[in-house]
Protein backbone atom coordinates (compact mmCIF):
# COMPACT_ATOMS: atom_id res chain seq x y z
CA UNK A 1 0.00 0.00 0.00
CA UNK A 2 1.27 3.40 -0.94
CA UNK A 3 1.32 6.23 1.53
CA UNK A 4 -0.86 8.32 -0.75
CA UNK A 5 -3.60 5.73 -0.49
CA UNK A 6 -3.51 5.94 3.29
CA UNK A 7 -3.79 9.68 3.10
CA UNK A 8 -6.66 9.37 0.65
CA UNK A 9 -8.63 7.19 3.03
CA UNK A 10 -7.95 9.44 5.99
CA UNK A 11 -9.25 12.43 4.04
CA UNK A 12 -12.28 10.49 2.85
CA UNK A 13 -13.16 9.49 6.38
CA UNK A 14 -12.91 13.10 7.51
CA UNK A 15 -15.16 14.30 4.69
CA UNK A 16 -17.88 11.71 5.07
CA UNK A 17 -17.65 11.57 8.85
CA UNK A 18 -17.86 15.37 9.11
CA UNK A 19 -20.80 15.48 6.76
CA UNK A 20 -22.68 12.74 8.60
CA UNK A 21 -22.07 14.33 11.99
CA UNK A 22 -23.11 17.71 10.63
CA UNK A 23 -26.54 16.48 9.67
CA UNK A 24 -27.08 14.25 12.70
CA UNK A 25 -25.81 16.63 15.39
CA UNK A 26 -28.46 17.85 17.78
CA UNK A 27 -26.71 21.14 18.49
CA UNK A 28 -26.68 23.70 15.75
CA UNK A 29 -23.28 25.13 16.63
CA UNK A 30 -21.70 21.70 16.67
CA UNK A 31 -23.27 20.95 13.32
CA UNK A 32 -21.54 24.02 11.92
CA UNK A 33 -18.23 22.85 13.37
CA UNK A 34 -18.61 19.42 11.80
CA UNK A 35 -19.42 21.13 8.52
CA UNK A 36 -16.08 22.93 8.81
CA UNK A 37 -14.31 19.59 9.11
CA UNK A 38 -16.10 18.24 6.10
CA UNK A 39 -15.25 21.31 4.02
CA UNK A 40 -11.65 21.23 5.19
CA UNK A 41 -11.55 17.60 4.16
CA UNK A 42 -12.70 18.58 0.69
CA UNK A 43 -9.99 21.24 0.61
CA UNK A 44 -7.36 18.71 1.58
CA UNK A 45 -8.66 16.42 -1.11
CA UNK A 46 -7.98 19.18 -3.61
CA UNK A 47 -4.50 19.55 -2.16
CA UNK A 48 -4.09 15.83 -2.48
CA UNK A 49 -5.05 16.07 -6.15
CA UNK A 50 -2.50 18.91 -6.47
CA UNK A 51 -5.19 21.37 -7.36
CA UNK A 52 -3.67 23.83 -4.92
CA UNK A 53 -5.44 26.88 -6.20
CA UNK A 54 -8.88 25.34 -5.93
CA UNK A 55 -8.00 24.04 -2.48
CA UNK A 56 -6.94 27.44 -1.23
CA UNK A 57 -10.04 29.02 -2.72
CA UNK A 58 -12.15 26.34 -1.05
CA UNK A 59 -10.69 27.29 2.33
CA UNK A 60 -10.92 31.02 1.78
CA UNK A 61 -14.45 31.02 0.45
CA UNK A 62 -16.16 28.18 2.27
CA UNK A 63 -14.32 27.79 5.54
CA UNK A 64 -13.06 31.30 6.10
CA UNK A 65 -16.06 33.03 4.63
CA UNK A 66 -19.31 31.15 4.50
CA UNK A 67 -19.00 29.04 7.62
CA UNK A 68 -17.88 32.05 9.63
CA UNK A 69 -21.01 33.82 8.45
CA UNK A 70 -23.11 30.80 9.39
CA UNK A 71 -21.55 30.75 12.86
CA UNK A 72 -22.18 34.45 13.21
CA UNK A 73 -25.82 34.05 12.40
CA UNK A 74 -25.99 31.19 14.90
CA UNK A 75 -24.53 33.50 17.54
CA UNK A 76 -27.05 36.16 16.77
CA UNK A 77 -30.05 33.88 16.98
CA UNK A 78 -31.16 33.00 20.48
CA UNK A 79 -30.99 29.54 21.99
CA UNK A 80 -27.96 28.53 19.99
CA UNK A 81 -26.88 26.37 22.89
CA UNK A 82 -30.15 24.45 23.13
CA UNK A 83 -30.63 21.05 21.63
CA UNK A 84 -32.68 20.94 18.48
CA UNK A 85 -36.07 19.28 18.55
CA UNK A 86 -36.44 15.92 16.86
CA UNK A 87 -37.88 16.47 13.39
CA UNK A 88 -41.29 14.93 12.83
CA UNK A 89 -41.82 11.75 10.82
CA UNK A 90 -43.06 13.36 7.65
CA UNK A 91 -40.04 15.55 7.40
CA UNK A 92 -37.67 12.68 8.05
CA UNK A 93 -39.37 10.63 5.36
CA UNK A 94 -39.15 13.28 2.66
CA UNK A 95 -35.58 14.18 3.56
CA UNK A 96 -34.58 10.54 3.35
CA UNK A 97 -36.35 10.27 0.03
CA UNK A 98 -34.56 13.24 -1.48
CA UNK A 99 -31.19 12.09 -0.14
CA UNK A 100 -31.76 8.64 -1.53
CA UNK A 101 -32.70 9.93 -4.99
CA UNK A 102 -29.65 12.21 -5.01
CA UNK A 103 -27.48 9.28 -4.07
CA UNK A 104 -28.96 7.16 -6.84
CA UNK A 105 -28.43 9.94 -9.34
CA UNK A 106 -24.78 10.36 -8.33
CA UNK A 107 -24.14 6.64 -8.41
CA UNK A 108 -25.75 6.48 -11.81
CA UNK A 109 -23.58 9.27 -13.17
CA UNK A 110 -20.40 7.76 -11.71
CA UNK A 111 -21.30 4.34 -13.02
CA UNK A 112 -21.92 5.55 -16.54
CA UNK A 113 -18.87 7.82 -16.71
CA UNK A 114 -15.98 6.27 -18.48
CA UNK A 115 -12.97 7.14 -16.29
CA UNK A 116 -9.80 7.43 -18.30
CA UNK A 117 -6.46 7.04 -16.68
CA UNK A 118 -4.41 10.05 -17.63
CA UNK A 119 -1.76 9.88 -14.95
CA UNK A 120 0.93 10.19 -17.56
CA UNK A 121 0.12 13.71 -18.67
CA UNK A 122 -1.01 15.67 -15.61
CA UNK A 123 -2.23 19.14 -16.45
CA UNK A 124 -0.66 21.94 -14.45
CA UNK A 125 -3.55 24.17 -13.43
CA UNK A 126 -1.52 27.34 -13.52
CA UNK A 127 -3.16 30.34 -11.95
CA UNK A 128 -2.41 32.26 -15.09
CA UNK A 129 -4.47 29.77 -17.10
CA UNK A 130 -7.30 29.92 -14.61
CA UNK A 131 -7.30 33.67 -14.74
CA UNK A 132 -7.25 33.69 -18.53
CA UNK A 133 -10.07 31.17 -18.70
CA UNK A 134 -12.09 33.19 -16.21
CA UNK A 135 -11.96 36.31 -18.33
CA UNK A 136 -12.04 34.82 -21.80
CA UNK A 137 -15.01 35.23 -24.13
CA UNK A 138 -14.25 32.21 -26.26
CA UNK A 139 -16.36 29.07 -26.31
CA UNK A 140 -15.21 27.66 -22.98
CA UNK A 141 -14.63 31.06 -21.40
CA UNK A 142 -16.23 31.90 -18.08
CA UNK A 143 -16.62 35.64 -18.45
CA UNK A 144 -20.42 35.61 -18.57
CA UNK A 145 -20.95 33.36 -15.50
CA UNK A 146 -18.24 35.26 -13.70
CA UNK A 147 -19.94 38.57 -14.35
CA UNK A 148 -23.37 37.18 -13.49
CA UNK A 149 -22.10 35.85 -10.18
CA UNK A 150 -20.37 39.10 -9.30
CA UNK A 151 -23.52 41.01 -10.20
CA UNK A 152 -25.53 38.73 -7.94
CA UNK A 153 -23.10 39.25 -5.09
CA UNK A 154 -23.23 43.00 -5.59
CA UNK A 155 -27.02 42.91 -5.45
CA UNK A 156 -26.84 40.84 -2.27
CA UNK A 157 -24.42 43.30 -0.70
CA UNK A 158 -26.61 46.29 -1.54
CA UNK A 159 -29.58 44.39 -0.14
CA UNK A 160 -27.70 43.78 3.11
CA UNK A 161 -26.83 47.45 3.42
CA UNK A 162 -30.46 48.45 2.79
CA UNK A 163 -31.70 46.03 5.44
CA UNK A 164 -29.10 47.22 7.91
CA UNK A 165 -30.02 50.86 7.30
CA UNK A 166 -33.72 50.16 7.75
CA UNK A 167 -33.22 48.87 11.28
CA UNK A 168 -31.79 52.13 12.47
Amino acid sequence: MDISVIIFYIISVVITGGALLAVTSKQIFRAAVYLIFSLLGVASMYFYLENNFIAAVQIVVYVGGIVVLIIFSIFLTQNSGHRLKKPDGKRVFFSALSVLSALLLTLNVIGNYNFKSNSNNTIEPEIKNIGMQMLSTTQYGYLLPFEVVSFLLLAAMIGCIVIALKRN
Binding site: R30, V33, A56, V57, I59, V60, V63, G64, F75
Partner: protein, 364 residues
Protein backbone atom coordinates in the same frame (compact mmCIF):
# COMPACT_ATOMS: atom_id res chain seq x y z
CA UNK B 1 25.20 24.70 -4.07
CA UNK B 2 27.56 27.12 -2.44
CA UNK B 3 29.90 25.17 -0.22
CA UNK B 4 31.05 28.22 1.75
CA UNK B 5 27.97 28.16 3.91
CA UNK B 6 28.52 25.24 6.21
CA UNK B 7 25.32 25.98 8.04
CA UNK B 8 23.18 25.78 4.95
CA UNK B 9 19.86 24.19 5.90
CA UNK B 10 19.48 22.66 2.47
CA UNK B 11 22.72 20.77 2.87
CA UNK B 12 21.60 19.48 6.23
CA UNK B 13 18.24 18.38 4.90
CA UNK B 14 19.80 16.59 1.95
CA UNK B 15 22.34 14.91 4.22
CA UNK B 16 19.64 13.59 6.52
CA UNK B 17 17.58 12.48 3.54
CA UNK B 18 20.50 10.47 2.15
CA UNK B 19 21.19 8.98 5.56
CA UNK B 20 17.62 7.83 5.91
CA UNK B 21 17.49 6.54 2.36
CA UNK B 22 20.36 4.24 3.13
CA UNK B 23 18.86 3.07 6.38
CA UNK B 24 15.25 2.53 5.33
CA UNK B 25 14.53 0.77 2.07
CA UNK B 26 10.77 0.70 2.25
CA UNK B 27 9.56 3.91 0.59
CA UNK B 28 6.35 4.15 2.59
CA UNK B 29 8.24 3.84 5.83
CA UNK B 30 10.81 6.32 4.60
CA UNK B 31 8.14 8.88 3.75
CA UNK B 32 6.41 8.42 7.06
CA UNK B 33 9.69 8.75 8.94
CA UNK B 34 10.60 11.89 7.08
CA UNK B 35 7.18 13.37 7.68
CA UNK B 36 7.49 12.58 11.35
CA UNK B 37 10.96 14.10 11.53
CA UNK B 38 9.79 17.25 9.80
CA UNK B 39 6.78 17.46 12.09
CA UNK B 40 8.71 16.98 15.29
CA UNK B 41 11.47 19.34 14.22
CA UNK B 42 8.89 21.94 13.27
CA UNK B 43 7.06 21.59 16.57
CA UNK B 44 10.23 21.84 18.62
CA UNK B 45 11.58 24.77 16.68
CA UNK B 46 8.24 26.55 16.90
CA UNK B 47 8.10 26.08 20.64
CA UNK B 48 11.65 27.35 20.96
CA UNK B 49 10.72 30.26 18.73
CA UNK B 50 7.73 31.05 20.93
CA UNK B 51 9.90 30.86 24.03
CA UNK B 52 12.20 33.34 22.43
CA UNK B 53 9.36 35.61 21.33
CA UNK B 54 7.85 35.47 24.80
CA UNK B 55 11.14 36.43 26.34
CA UNK B 56 11.67 39.12 23.73
CA UNK B 57 8.22 40.56 24.33
CA UNK B 58 8.89 40.84 28.04
CA UNK B 59 12.24 42.45 27.53
CA UNK B 60 10.88 44.83 24.91
CA UNK B 61 7.99 45.72 27.19
CA UNK B 62 10.38 46.28 30.06
CA UNK B 63 12.56 48.43 27.86
CA UNK B 64 9.58 50.58 26.88
CA UNK B 65 8.35 50.79 30.46
CA UNK B 66 11.63 51.87 32.04
CA UNK B 67 12.02 48.69 34.02
CA UNK B 68 14.20 45.60 33.81
CA UNK B 69 11.96 42.71 32.95
CA UNK B 70 12.85 39.11 33.68
CA UNK B 71 16.56 38.86 34.43
CA UNK B 72 16.94 36.30 37.20
CA UNK B 73 16.01 32.91 35.81
CA UNK B 74 18.81 31.87 33.52
CA UNK B 75 21.15 34.22 31.69
CA UNK B 76 19.31 37.51 31.09
CA UNK B 77 16.09 35.85 32.17
CA UNK B 78 15.92 33.60 29.12
CA UNK B 79 14.73 30.65 31.16
CA UNK B 80 11.90 32.61 32.76
CA UNK B 81 9.54 31.58 30.01
CA UNK B 82 10.55 27.95 30.45
CA UNK B 83 9.70 28.24 34.11
CA UNK B 84 6.36 29.77 33.17
CA UNK B 85 5.65 26.92 30.80
CA UNK B 86 6.40 24.39 33.49
CA UNK B 87 4.02 26.26 35.76
CA UNK B 88 1.32 26.26 33.14
CA UNK B 89 1.86 22.56 32.50
CA UNK B 90 1.19 21.75 36.12
CA UNK B 91 -1.84 23.96 36.41
CA UNK B 92 -5.24 22.42 36.26
CA UNK B 93 -6.96 22.83 32.93
CA UNK B 94 -10.37 23.87 34.12
CA UNK B 95 -13.42 23.20 32.02
CA UNK B 96 -16.54 25.16 33.00
CA UNK B 97 -19.40 22.99 34.05
CA UNK B 98 -21.97 24.17 31.56
CA UNK B 99 -19.59 24.55 28.66
CA UNK B 100 -19.68 22.49 25.48
CA UNK B 101 -16.80 20.33 26.63
CA UNK B 102 -15.88 18.84 23.27
CA UNK B 103 -15.61 22.18 21.48
CA UNK B 104 -14.06 23.84 24.51
CA UNK B 105 -11.19 21.41 24.48
CA UNK B 106 -10.93 21.34 20.71
CA UNK B 107 -10.70 25.09 20.17
CA UNK B 108 -7.09 25.65 21.35
CA UNK B 109 -5.87 22.88 19.08
CA UNK B 110 -7.65 24.35 16.07
CA UNK B 111 -6.08 27.74 16.74
CA UNK B 112 -2.59 26.28 17.10
CA UNK B 113 -2.94 23.95 14.13
CA UNK B 114 -4.18 26.74 11.91
CA UNK B 115 -1.21 28.92 12.73
CA UNK B 116 1.26 26.06 12.39
CA UNK B 117 -0.09 25.14 8.95
CA UNK B 118 0.73 28.57 7.67
CA UNK B 119 4.42 28.09 8.33
CA UNK B 120 4.79 25.48 5.56
CA UNK B 121 5.60 27.64 2.53
CA UNK B 122 7.82 30.13 4.36
CA UNK B 123 11.39 30.14 3.11
CA UNK B 124 13.63 30.35 6.15
CA UNK B 125 16.78 30.44 4.11
CA UNK B 126 17.94 30.05 0.57
CA UNK B 127 16.18 27.05 -0.98
CA UNK B 128 14.89 26.00 2.38
CA UNK B 129 11.22 25.71 3.10
CA UNK B 130 9.00 22.90 4.27
CA UNK B 131 6.78 22.93 1.20
CA UNK B 132 7.23 25.59 -1.45
CA UNK B 133 3.69 25.33 -2.68
CA UNK B 134 3.09 27.05 -6.02
CA UNK B 135 0.35 29.26 -4.57
CA UNK B 136 2.23 30.22 -1.40
CA UNK B 137 0.65 33.63 -0.79
CA UNK B 138 -2.87 32.36 -1.30
CA UNK B 139 -2.17 29.35 0.88
CA UNK B 140 -0.94 31.41 3.81
CA UNK B 141 -3.84 33.81 3.67
CA UNK B 142 -6.37 30.99 3.39
CA UNK B 143 -4.94 28.88 6.20
CA UNK B 144 -4.56 31.83 8.54
CA UNK B 145 -8.27 32.52 8.14
CA UNK B 146 -8.92 29.24 9.95
CA UNK B 147 -7.80 30.53 13.32
CA UNK B 148 -10.90 32.69 13.58
CA UNK B 149 -12.93 29.49 13.71
CA UNK B 150 -10.98 28.32 16.72
CA UNK B 151 -11.55 31.65 18.44
CA UNK B 152 -15.27 31.61 17.67
CA UNK B 153 -15.43 28.07 18.98
CA UNK B 154 -13.57 28.97 22.15
CA UNK B 155 -15.79 31.96 22.78
CA UNK B 156 -19.03 30.16 22.19
CA UNK B 157 -18.27 26.95 24.03
CA UNK B 158 -17.04 28.64 27.23
CA UNK B 159 -20.60 29.45 28.31
CA UNK B 160 -19.49 32.90 29.32
CA UNK B 161 -20.84 36.17 28.01
CA UNK B 162 -17.46 37.85 28.07
CA UNK B 163 -16.08 35.03 25.96
CA UNK B 164 -18.96 35.27 23.55
CA UNK B 165 -18.53 39.01 23.18
CA UNK B 166 -14.82 38.54 22.64
CA UNK B 167 -15.44 35.90 20.01
CA UNK B 168 -17.95 38.10 18.20
CA UNK B 169 -15.50 40.97 18.24
CA UNK B 170 -12.68 38.87 16.96
CA UNK B 171 -14.86 37.36 14.26
CA UNK B 172 -15.96 40.75 12.97
CA UNK B 173 -12.42 42.05 13.22
CA UNK B 174 -10.63 39.20 11.48
CA UNK B 175 -13.18 38.87 8.69
CA UNK B 176 -12.92 42.61 7.95
CA UNK B 177 -9.18 42.93 8.16
CA UNK B 178 -8.60 39.89 6.01
CA UNK B 179 -9.67 42.03 3.07
CA UNK B 180 -6.95 44.61 3.57
CA UNK B 181 -4.34 41.98 4.25
CA UNK B 182 -5.36 40.16 1.09
CA UNK B 183 -5.32 43.30 -1.02
CA UNK B 184 -1.90 44.36 0.17
CA UNK B 185 -0.60 40.87 -0.54
CA UNK B 186 -2.11 41.03 -4.01
CA UNK B 187 -0.21 44.25 -4.64
CA UNK B 188 3.05 42.30 -4.47
CA UNK B 189 1.57 39.39 -6.39
CA UNK B 190 0.66 41.81 -9.18
CA UNK B 191 4.09 43.44 -9.15
CA UNK B 192 6.00 40.18 -9.24
CA UNK B 193 3.51 38.30 -11.38
CA UNK B 194 3.79 35.27 -9.13
CA UNK B 195 1.96 33.63 -6.26
CA UNK B 196 4.69 31.30 -5.17
CA UNK B 197 6.75 32.63 -2.27
CA UNK B 198 9.95 31.23 -3.74
CA UNK B 199 9.37 32.97 -7.05
CA UNK B 200 8.48 36.21 -5.31
CA UNK B 201 11.75 36.09 -3.39
CA UNK B 202 13.68 35.36 -6.57
CA UNK B 203 12.04 38.33 -8.24
CA UNK B 204 13.67 40.54 -5.61
CA UNK B 205 17.17 39.62 -6.74
CA UNK B 206 17.89 43.16 -7.90
CA UNK B 207 16.10 44.98 -5.10
CA UNK B 208 13.31 44.50 -2.63
CA UNK B 209 9.75 45.23 -3.64
CA UNK B 210 9.36 47.95 -1.08
CA UNK B 211 12.06 49.87 -2.98
CA UNK B 212 11.24 48.69 -6.47
CA UNK B 213 7.50 49.26 -6.27
CA UNK B 214 7.65 53.00 -5.57
CA UNK B 215 5.20 54.56 -3.11
CA UNK B 216 2.32 52.09 -3.73
CA UNK B 217 4.49 49.28 -2.42
CA UNK B 218 5.26 51.28 0.71
CA UNK B 219 1.56 51.99 1.19
CA UNK B 220 0.80 48.30 0.76
CA UNK B 221 3.51 47.48 3.30
CA UNK B 222 2.12 49.89 5.89
CA UNK B 223 -1.41 48.64 5.35
CA UNK B 224 -0.19 45.08 5.61
CA UNK B 225 1.49 45.74 8.94
CA UNK B 226 -1.55 47.53 10.39
CA UNK B 227 -4.13 45.07 9.08
CA UNK B 228 -2.18 41.99 10.02
CA UNK B 229 -1.61 43.33 13.52
CA UNK B 230 -5.37 43.51 13.71
CA UNK B 231 -5.79 40.08 12.22
CA UNK B 232 -3.63 38.43 14.82
CA UNK B 233 -5.51 40.23 17.61
CA UNK B 234 -2.57 42.13 18.98
CA UNK B 235 -2.72 45.49 20.70
CA UNK B 236 -3.85 48.11 19.82
CA UNK B 237 -6.36 45.85 18.09
CA UNK B 238 -6.63 43.26 20.86
CA UNK B 239 -10.35 43.82 21.30
CA UNK B 240 -11.06 40.13 21.36
CA UNK B 241 -9.09 39.81 24.58
CA UNK B 242 -9.40 43.35 25.95
CA UNK B 243 -8.63 42.56 29.59
CA UNK B 244 -10.00 45.87 30.79
CA UNK B 245 -13.33 45.42 29.04
CA UNK B 246 -13.94 41.72 28.69
CA UNK B 247 -11.57 40.30 31.33
CA UNK B 248 -9.76 38.28 28.69
CA UNK B 249 -12.40 37.82 26.03
CA UNK B 250 -12.51 34.48 24.32
CA UNK B 251 -9.88 32.94 26.57
CA UNK B 252 -11.43 34.04 29.86
CA UNK B 253 -12.29 30.51 30.90
CA UNK B 254 -9.10 28.85 29.74
CA UNK B 255 -6.34 27.88 32.11
CA UNK B 256 -3.21 25.83 32.21
CA UNK B 257 -1.93 24.33 29.01
CA UNK B 258 -5.06 25.15 27.05
CA UNK B 259 -4.46 28.80 27.74
CA UNK B 260 -0.82 28.37 26.81
CA UNK B 261 -1.95 27.05 23.44
CA UNK B 262 -3.62 30.35 22.66
CA UNK B 263 -0.45 32.12 23.68
CA UNK B 264 1.57 29.78 21.49
CA UNK B 265 -0.73 30.45 18.55
CA UNK B 266 -0.47 34.19 19.13
CA UNK B 267 3.30 34.09 18.92
CA UNK B 268 3.36 31.80 15.91
CA UNK B 269 0.93 34.12 14.18
CA UNK B 270 3.10 37.07 15.08
CA UNK B 271 6.06 35.30 13.55
CA UNK B 272 4.18 34.31 10.40
CA UNK B 273 2.86 37.79 9.82
CA UNK B 274 6.29 39.30 10.23
CA UNK B 275 7.86 36.63 8.08
CA UNK B 276 5.30 37.24 5.36
CA UNK B 277 5.98 40.97 5.47
CA UNK B 278 9.69 40.29 5.32
CA UNK B 279 9.29 37.84 2.45
CA UNK B 280 6.98 39.85 0.28
CA UNK B 281 8.19 43.36 0.84
CA UNK B 282 11.73 42.99 2.12
CA UNK B 283 12.98 40.13 0.01
CA UNK B 284 12.82 37.25 2.49
CA UNK B 285 16.23 35.63 2.68
CA UNK B 286 17.41 37.70 -0.27
CA UNK B 287 20.35 39.87 0.76
CA UNK B 288 20.23 43.59 0.23
CA UNK B 289 21.00 44.04 -3.44
CA UNK B 290 21.16 47.22 -5.43
CA UNK B 291 20.49 46.83 -9.15
CA UNK B 292 23.69 45.82 -10.90
CA UNK B 293 26.28 46.89 -8.34
CA UNK B 294 28.04 43.58 -8.71
CA UNK B 295 30.69 44.00 -6.04
CA UNK B 296 28.28 45.42 -3.46
CA UNK B 297 25.86 42.57 -4.06
CA UNK B 298 28.69 40.05 -3.70
CA UNK B 299 29.63 41.46 -0.31
CA UNK B 300 26.03 41.29 0.80
CA UNK B 301 25.86 37.68 -0.32
CA UNK B 302 28.47 36.77 2.27
CA UNK B 303 25.94 37.27 5.04
CA UNK B 304 24.04 33.96 5.32
CA UNK B 305 20.55 33.99 3.93
CA UNK B 306 18.99 32.68 7.15
CA UNK B 307 20.39 35.66 9.02
CA UNK B 308 18.92 38.02 6.47
CA UNK B 309 15.53 36.39 6.84
CA UNK B 310 15.53 36.27 10.62
CA UNK B 311 16.91 39.79 10.89
CA UNK B 312 14.15 41.26 8.77
CA UNK B 313 11.49 39.22 10.49
CA UNK B 314 12.59 40.24 13.94
CA UNK B 315 12.76 43.90 13.03
CA UNK B 316 9.11 43.70 12.03
CA UNK B 317 8.28 41.70 15.15
CA UNK B 318 9.91 44.44 17.21
CA UNK B 319 7.82 47.08 15.45
CA UNK B 320 4.61 45.17 16.16
CA UNK B 321 5.64 44.78 19.80
CA UNK B 322 6.38 48.46 19.88
CA UNK B 323 2.78 49.13 18.87
CA UNK B 324 1.51 46.95 21.63
CA UNK B 325 3.38 48.63 24.43
CA UNK B 326 2.71 52.20 23.45
CA UNK B 327 -0.79 52.49 22.02
CA UNK B 328 -4.13 52.44 23.79
CA UNK B 329 -6.77 50.12 22.46
CA UNK B 330 -9.34 51.13 19.85
CA UNK B 331 -13.07 50.86 20.35
CA UNK B 332 -14.95 48.29 18.29
CA UNK B 333 -16.69 50.77 16.00
CA UNK B 334 -13.47 52.75 15.50
CA UNK B 335 -11.74 49.52 14.64
CA UNK B 336 -14.26 48.67 11.96
CA UNK B 337 -14.32 52.25 10.72
CA UNK B 338 -10.57 52.17 10.30
CA UNK B 339 -10.87 49.13 8.10
CA UNK B 340 -13.93 49.94 6.05
CA UNK B 341 -13.51 53.68 5.73
CA UNK B 342 -9.75 54.03 5.44
CA UNK B 343 -7.67 50.91 4.91
CA UNK B 344 -9.93 49.14 2.43
CA UNK B 345 -10.59 52.09 0.07
CA UNK B 346 -6.93 53.08 0.21
CA UNK B 347 -5.78 49.59 -0.63
CA UNK B 348 -8.35 49.31 -3.40
CA UNK B 349 -7.08 52.47 -5.03
CA UNK B 350 -3.56 51.32 -4.31
CA UNK B 351 -4.10 48.05 -6.12
CA UNK B 352 -5.27 49.89 -9.22
CA UNK B 353 -2.13 52.02 -9.17
CA UNK B 354 0.00 48.95 -8.61
CA UNK B 355 -1.64 47.20 -11.54
CA UNK B 356 -0.98 50.23 -13.70
CA UNK B 357 2.66 50.22 -12.64
CA UNK B 358 2.94 46.52 -13.32
CA UNK B 359 1.34 46.76 -16.76
CA UNK B 360 3.37 49.75 -17.83
CA UNK B 361 6.51 48.22 -16.39
CA UNK B 362 7.31 51.35 -14.38
CA UNK B 363 8.79 49.42 -11.53
CA UNK B 364 12.47 48.63 -11.52
Amino acid sequence: MNRIFLYSFTEMALYIHKLLENAITNTVLLQITELAIIGVTLLISLVILCFFLGWMERRVAAFMEIRLGPNRVGPQGTLQIVADTVKLLFKEGLTPNKSDKFLFNLAPFIVVTASMLAIAPLAFAKNFSIYDINIGVLYVSSVSSLSVLGILMAGWSSYNKYSLLGAMRSGAQIVSYELSVGLSLIAIVVLSGNVSLGEIINSQQNGWWIFKGHIPAIIAFVIFIIASTAEINRAPFDLAEADQELTGGYNTEYSGMKFAMFLLAEYINLFIVSAMAATLFLGGWMPFHIGDWESFNKIMDYIPSSIWFMGKTFIIIFIIMWFRWTFPRLRIDQLLNLEWKYLLPISMVNIIIVTLIAIMGWHF
